[in-house]
Assembly symmetry: C2
Homo-oligomer: 190 residues x 2
């Protein structure tokens, strides 16, 4: 597969870590396109929720007043082998911990619900120039057993799964889901 110029440019941006949030999102979106093309999984980004305030009809319907709603769910949804998958991507510049203020209380509640109903939910975290997949079960367990306002990097290293940046696809997180998260098993827990 040849990479279009845009992909190359964005990928380099990520290596420079000049535009963290966007780059992580870009890498995940490209990975999802790869999964879809290769018929591995169907995973997509949910639209940004906008409350439509006013619509005008010249040429085509146009929103002329709309407000951003706070997200009550996570950013990505999809399915792999019939299983429901729901996750979010978060970047932090902190080198020692992931601040839980990055995860809205509604989002944590949603993550809990998904797991309670047998779905797969997790965060893809960018910290210290590395990318980890942290199982929702470990996030819930942490919040239930600690009053800390951030998840220490040591906990992420211990419980999380490192996703190595590579080509085809950039971030092969489905491999981790397949090996560690499906069927409720999480090898790192044992």
């Amino acid at each position: 597969m040849k990479y279009p110029c845009k992909a190359k440019k964005e990928f380099n941006k990520n290596i420079n870590y000049s535009n963290r949030g966007m780059s992580l999102e870009f890498l995940i979106n490209e990975t999802n396109i790869y999964y879809e093309k290769k018929n591995i999984a169907v995973i997509y980004k949910k639209p940004t929720p906008v409350t439509i305030g006013k619509v005008t009809y010249s040429n085509k319907p146009t929103v002329t007043k709309g407000y951003f709603k706070s997200k009550s769910t996570l950013d990505y949804v999809g399915l792999y082998k019939g299983k429901y998958i729901d996750f979010d991507a978060k970047s932090t510049k902190s080198k020692t911990s992931f601040p839980l203020s990055n995860l809205h209380s509604h989002q944590l509640k949603h993550l809990k619900k998904v797991i309670n109903h047998g779905g797969i939910s997790f965060l893809i975290l960018e910290i210290n120039d590395l990318i980890y997949l942290l199982d929702g079960k470990d996030i819930i367990s942490f919040t239930q057993n600690s009053n800390r306002k951030s998840i220490p990097y040591d906990y992420i290293k211990k419980k999380g799964f490192l996703i190595e940046l590579k080509y085809n696809p950039y971030l092969d997180y489905i491999k981790i889901i397949d090996k560690h998260l499906i069927g409720g098993k999480n090898e790192k827990e044992n």
Copy 2:
């Protein structure tokens, strides 16, 4: 459970069939709230996709130019017993068939993908003052075996599952999923 005034009003509206699309959507949304409260399933309506053209920042960020994107997926997504569920609600005034023009080609493609990956996908159809759940597999099978531009009512009656309108919840479609759609079985097919 006591019904709030709004619910009663909307419910009566549906009985009068004066506002079809909205009412079916209302009944499904209320059913989903019931499922969530009773901890049966987590199913929600996807946000309307809007391309953000211009945002102004007075008081709070406001979309001052936004365009509606055509939907490439179905309206509702969620999970039940760990399974991925994806469906849409459609109403038709036609008494003899469901016009396939109501289902965009992108939506049909998405439905196929979901089923190919082991998910559950279907349509909730309002036709002749009755509400049916039609399994995505039967929709695909119909489009593959016929060049017709609409699904005859007879096919819907034969293959679809009637959802009776009742209280608590209004449209208990999960019962049908549980009985007929999970694990790939579809009793009506045999």
